[in-house]
């Protein structure tokens, strides 16, 4: 009986402690909402898990990327203040994922569910979580289909996977490229990469590997395909051995995976929009003047999910395929230079990459002066946003 009493008392203490602990996180929840969970299985196919079987090292990178993405949000939500968050992410988390990538620490054996790796940040904006998860599923499915040579008609199978993805419009990113203004032209834009430059580089490296893998896996010859995948993985690891090689802008399909983008333009654009939203989400999570994180996240999700508003007008001409180990000149261009390149014809982009940093800067400034994006627009027309529009009461 004594054992029973002790067991019950200890269990109750743990449960009550949890209730009090959760009060600390309630600062993120201005208006508690009853949100539907709605977990969905992803599309059955013989190709499922082919990447794991055929390219285990690349698959291991993907699993660690999932951990890195999830832990990033978790540490942002859990940190007591910005100083602590910067240390937890720029130092501790960067070291943790680097060790995993380089095989110096235990790696996850499977793709982890974000909810298990980031239990608190998953509560912040569940609809965002669903959109991320659903699009990551599509990512994995495309890799699996392209990895599996038992799939006879890869184009048709990828089309089926994409059609399945599109059956859930509330959690999909649109197949038309959204304006860079959403990422660059909002009051909170750029805050994340200003305060967390190193891990932002890691996130862009993640996105680079995902794009490079699309380009490598589309290669029809299995031997050449394997060489390309291995090269992409090795180049990715090199970025973590020497962080100065991490990308200085958000890599996009038209520059890193032009062959894939030409063959599957809607899917490539969907992934570009996903990556854009990753940056937007990080900005609003970190910016101290975004008070109601959930409200703002849902507003931003609605903006980027809208298939017709705020579309990109820059032509984004594709680059010719560049070998993965020769992409450093491209990856070292900064975000403004990258946006300037989005306005150039292909030949001019290639020439731009040969210029000195001073020459690139001058040319970029000149082009940006002539640029007029026209701001972010909601359904009701143009919406002027500034810091005064934000709820300043929160973290």
């Amino acid at each position: 009986m004594n054992y029973l009493k002790r067991f019950v008392v200890i269990t109750l203490i743990i449960a009550i402690s949890f209730s009090f602990t959760s009060i600390g996180f309630a600062r993120f929840e201005k208006k508690p909402e009853f949100e539907k969970r709605e977990s969905i299985f992803y599309l059955y196919g013989k190709y499922n898990f082919a990447t794991r079987r055929v390219y285990p090292e690349f698959n291991a990178m993907l699993n660690i990327i999932d951990i890195g993405h999830a832990q990033l949000a978790e540490r942002l939500v859990s940190a007591k203040n910005e100083e602590e968050a910067v240390k937890l992410i720029e130092e501790d988390l960067f070291e943790m994922v680097t060790k995993m990538f380089l095989g110096q620490a235990r790696r996850p054996r499977f793709a982890p569910s974000e909810e298990t790796v980031a239990p608190e940040s998953s509560k912040l904006a569940w609809k965002v979580n669903k959109a991320f998860d659903w699009t990551h599923y599509l990512h994995r499915q495309v890799y699996d289909i392209l990895s599996d040579d038992r799939v006879k008609d890869k184009d048709q199978t990828i089309k089926e996977a994409f059609n399945y993805y599109r059956t859930e419009p509330e959690r999909t990113f649109p197949p038309k490229l959204k304006s860079m203004e959403l990422m660059e032209g909002q009051p909170f834009s750029g805050y994340w990469r200003e305060k967390y430059p190193k891990f932002n580089g890691a996130i862009w490296a993640y996105h680079w590997l995902q794009l490079a893998a699309n380009e490598a896996l589309i290669e029809p010859d299995p031997g050449v395909r394997r060489q390309k995948v291995d090269l992409a993985v090795e180049e990715f690891k090199q970025m973590f051995r020497d962080p100065s090689r991490l990308p200085k802008h958000m890599p996009m399909a038209h520059e890193v995976s032009p062959t894939f983008a030409k063959r599957y333009p809607e899917i490539a654009t969907t992934f570009d929009n996903l990556h854009t939203f990753h940056d937007i989400y990080m900005d609003l999570l970190t910016h101290p003047k975004v008070g109601d994180k959930r409200d703002e996240a849902y507003r931003q999700l609605a903006l980027i999910s809208d298939p017709s508003g705020n579309l990109e007008t820059m032509p984004s001409h594709p680059l010719p395929p560049i070998p993965f180990d020769q992409q450093q000149p491209l990856l070292q261009t900064n975000q403004m230079e990258h946006m300037a390149m989005m306005m150039m014809p292909t030949k001019e982009q290639m020439r731009f990459l040969t210029l000195s940093s001073l020459e690139r800067k001058e040319m970029t400034e000149k082009m940006m002066k002539n640029m007029n994006h026209g701001g972010i627009k909601n359904e009701g027309g143009e919406q002027k946003m500034d810091h005064e529009d934000m709820d300043h009461s929160g973290k």
Binding site: F7, I14, A15, E33, E38, S39, P112, P119
Partner: protein, 260 residues
């Protein structure tokens, strides 16, 4: 019981190349602890659970049970399941029989937030299907609450069963007059491992004193398809002196369940 085993074999046999991502955190009654969590299986997923075996020793008697279950996420946030129990009792002589067969629905109301826990309801209908099982049909309703803080989760379960009281010795694990308890879970996401402990009170459907039972267990993701679980059971007041269970869960689906 064997019809359920047949379903399992048939299902696995015709879906050898099926895709699945089993969830080592998805707790179900008896796998390995009695308390379950408030989330159902994913929409369009199926899961077979294969409790092999569940052994318990009580007042000199010994019982060895096989408890298979098949679940289907037939709609978003909904689950349907069928489970059975086959028991061999050794109490002087040896008796082997089916016990009850249970159908259940499971509905999850919400995803937990910082302040609101996940809540679910599980109506159950249990039928007599063997000499050691009940003699009557019983209907039950269970309420389930789950709340996580970091890598820790707490689950509360409570249920009440309507229907006649059975005679002594009838009924089994699947049907009780009432049941309530609490569980603690610690997740290790890199290892794909969950450690579990619970304590619960249960009033047997055949009457008798309320039993207070504690379980300790673990769930471990073996492959993207398979989860292994194992647990220890002991009665703190009445109930079994000692017991253990080992189980496997397999998640899969069929292409026909997906839109074309």
């Amino acid at each position: 019981m064997f019809h359920l085993l047949f379903i399992f074999v048939a299902v696995v046999g015709i879906s050898t190349s099926a895709f699945g991502q089993a969830d080592y955190r998805n707790l179900d009654p008896g796998r390995p602890i009695a308390i379950e969590d408030a989330y159902p299986i994913e929409f369009r997923a199926l899961e077979v659970q294969f409790g092999i075996p569940r052994y318990s020793r009580e007042e000199g008697g010994k019982a060895l049970s096989f408890e298979p279950e098949l679940k289907w996420g037939f709609a978003k946030d909904w689950q349907f399941g069928i489970s059975g129990e086959n028991t061999t009792l050794r109490d002087g002589g040896t008796t082997n029989s089916f016990r009850d067969t249970q159908l259940h629905l499971f509905y999850n109301l919400n995803q937990e937030s910082f302040t609101i826990p996940a809540i679910a309801f599980r109506p159950e209908l249990t039928f007599p299907t063997g000499a050691l099982g009940s003699e009557n049909v019983h209907a039950a309703l269970k309420a389930i609450v789950s709340k996580s803080i970091g890598m820790n989760r707490v689950h509360l379960n409570g249920s009440y069963t309507a229907g006649p009281t059975e005679v002594t010795g009838r009924g089994g694990e699947l049907v009780n007059r009432y049941f309530y308890g609490i569980a603690y879970e610690r997740t290790f996401p890199i290892e794909f491992l969950a450690l579990l402990a619970d304590v619960y009170a249960v009033r047997p459907i055949a009457g008798g004193p309320t039993e207070v039972i504690a379980d300790l267990g673990a769930r471990y993701q073996l492959t993207p398809f398979w989860v292994l679980d194992a647990g220890l059971i002991t009665g703190l007041r009445e109930g079994p002196d000692f017991g253990f269970t080992v189980g496997l869960s397999y998640v899969f689906s069929f292409r026909g369940l997906f839109p074309r």
